[in-house]
């Protein structure tokens, strides 16, 4: 047996890890080999030395427990201070999250009591690409639409964000049920929002600011572009940059071949309770700077998307084509600046 193997056997013997046969063999070897016996004795000596209770040498010094208690008490104080700081940070974090959540969702919830699903707000909206003119306007540095235009309130459960920078394509289901459908909404956004990510939602403050800006912009636009200028027809799209949203009205909500202008709050709000409520709501809430214009179609239903508005001699001239290749509407609605100018439909 090699020394290495003997050492291992001796260790196993010391630690009682040999079976009976191995133990007997090793004990016989130890009896016959003084060196092996000495090795075993040194192992036992080590064990005894380490396990020996040396009394005073192994005793804790006086005051050990007092010091330990003080250290424990101090650690507890530090722990509480740390806990308080953590609590403060947690509270701050929760408060921040609550503020963000309210800013994102509550204004819309308040304005749209029918909204129930938060998840529905993050559904990817269907998007109609802005045309080249819109993008060119955006590249030219014109203000973003959500800054210029009042954010119309979308019907149903649509995402609040898409009302600001995007709009829905016609919805077959909604047509079938007679619900209003937005037919035109053009906005010049600096950059197209990603379809995969929900666009930012507006806050109530932002909406108010946008409406005020829009009213102001409408007045300026009317003064600078229309007043005193030669007869000039502005396309709805170019006008829409200032806020032109024309929506289709459901059947029976407006008299045929008529024009109705609503300036009073009560009347405006009454429309929000009728069959046309979704369409009117999408044009926005009552504001003193704007008036609501409802136009009834004649024999041919309207293609509200084709609507254009011009300003000639202090008169707003609205032109809307008949529906041919698309399902038309019995009427269209839009808002115009409440500037006292006459409105005619050509």
């Amino acid at each position: 047996m090699s020394q290495r193997e003997l050492d291992r056997r001796l260790q196993d013997y010391l630690d009682d890890r040999l079976d009976d046969r191995e133990r007997e063999e090793l004990e016989a070897l130890i009896r016959d080999d003084p060196a092996a016996a000495a090795d075993l004795e040194s192992l036992r000596e080590i064990r005894l030395a380490l396990r020996e209770d040396t009394g005073g040498a192994d005793a804790l010094s006086p005051g050990f427990y007092t010091r330990a208690k003080s250290r424990f008490a101090e650690s507890q104080k530090q722990g509480k201070r740390r806990g308080f700081r953590l609590l403060s940070w947690e509270a701050a974090g929760l408060a921040t999250a609550a503020v963000i959540t309210l800013a994102l969702f509550m204004p819309d919830l308040l304005e749209r009591p029918g909204e129930t699903s938060i998840e529905s707000r993050f559904e990817t909206p269907r998007r109609i690409e802005a045309d080249d003119a819109d993008l060119a306007a955006a590249e030219a540095g014109e203000p973003a639409a959500d800054e210029m235009a009042p954010a119309p309130v979308e019907a149903g459960k649509r995402d609040v964000a898409e009302k600001i920078v995007e709009f829905d394509a016609p919805v077959e289901e909604e047509k079938a049920t007679g619900r209003a459908e937005r037919v035109d909404r053009v906005e010049a956004a600096p950059a197209r929002p990603s379809l995969s990510a929900p666009p930012p939602a507006p806050t109530a403050t932002r909406r108010r600011e946008a409406r005020q800006k829009a009213a102001s912009a409408d007045a300026e636009f009317a003064e600078e572009q229309f007043a005193g200028a030669p007869m000039k027809k502005e396309s709805s799209r170019s006008f829409a940059d200032r806020e032109l949203v024309a929506v289709g009205l459901p059947e029976g909500t407006v008299e045929r071949s008529s024009i109705r202008i609503v300036e009073e709050r009560t009347e405006w709000e009454r429309l929000l309770l009728g069959a046309e409520r979704d369409a009117i709501r999408s044009l926005g809430d009552y504001t003193p700077s704007r008036r609501l214009v409802l136009i009834g179609a004649g024999a041919d239903r309207f293609d509200c998307a084709s609507m254009t508005v011009g300003l000639t001699g202090g008169t707003y001239r609205i032109s809307v084509g008949p529906a041919r290749d698309v399902d038309g509407f019995s009427g269209c609605a839009l808002t115009l600046p409440r500037d006292g100018r006459e409105v005619v439909v050509e």
Binding site: D7, D15, I46, A49, L50, A68, F72, S75
Partner: protein, 204 residues
């Protein structure tokens, strides 16, 4: 009339429930802490003293272990488990101190070599070999020499040897605590004992 106690007999307080003591410690009860500390500190100190070879270091290590480990224990699972838990905590704290002391050399110590484990290539904690220390050792008895010699062992072997000889843990328990195979425990023990015997022979 108040009941009288037999003269010369000290009243014996019933031993506190460790689970309740731990609960008290978590609430910051210093008396509960002291009660548990008195139960475990002597044994921990004996281990720490052999581990470090220095009283001050050993006491500090034990205090650190008790202060940090007891409040952190969420569930009492028996005295033996608590004792093992504290020993493990003490070893971890000692390991961390060694690492912070000489991070570059000691960082791999407690992982141990691959395979059968110890190949003897690990770094050693610098032994206390100053003349004054040697002089002191010369004047002490053989058992004290052994105890001091342990502090010169390579840390992994030292820890393994002390778990076996001081804590009297089985190979399997050591393997679980140090997270190595039983064969590695056996190898480390053999090398630790051989190294210690060499130290002893040097003294002869």
């Amino acid at each position: 009339m108040e009941p009288t106690r037999p003269s010369g007999v000290c009243p014996v307080e019933p031993e506190a429930d460790p689970a309740e003591l731990l609960e008290g410690i978590r609430r910051g009860d210093t008396d509960a802490f002291e009660t548990l500390a008195r139960q475990h500190a002597p044994r921990l100190f004996r281990l720490a003293l052999r581990l470090t070879g220095r009283r001050e270091q050993a006491e500090d290590l034990v205090q650190d272990t008790l202060v940090r480990a007891l409040p952190a224990l969420r569930k009492f699972e028996g005295r033996a488990r608590l004792s093992t838990y504290l020993v493990r905590a003490l070893g971890n704290l000692w390991k961390n101190r060694l690492r912070s002391k000489s991070r570059s050399r000691l960082v791999e110590w407690f992982r141990g070599p691959a395979g059968d484990g110890d190949d003897g290539t690990g770094d050693w904690e610098p032994p206390d070999s100053s003349p004054s220390a040697l002089d002191r050792l010369e004047s002490e008895d053989r058992a004290a020499w052994i105890r001091r010699g342990v502090a010169r062992l390579e840390p992994v072997r030292r820890w393994t040897l002390l778990l076996r000889e001081v804590e009297e843990l089985s190979y399997e328990e050591i393997a679980e605590m140090t997270e190595v195979p039983v064969g590695t425990v056996r190898s480390r023990l053999a090398r630790a004992r051989a190294d210690l015997r060499s130290i002893l022979e040097d003294r002869r």
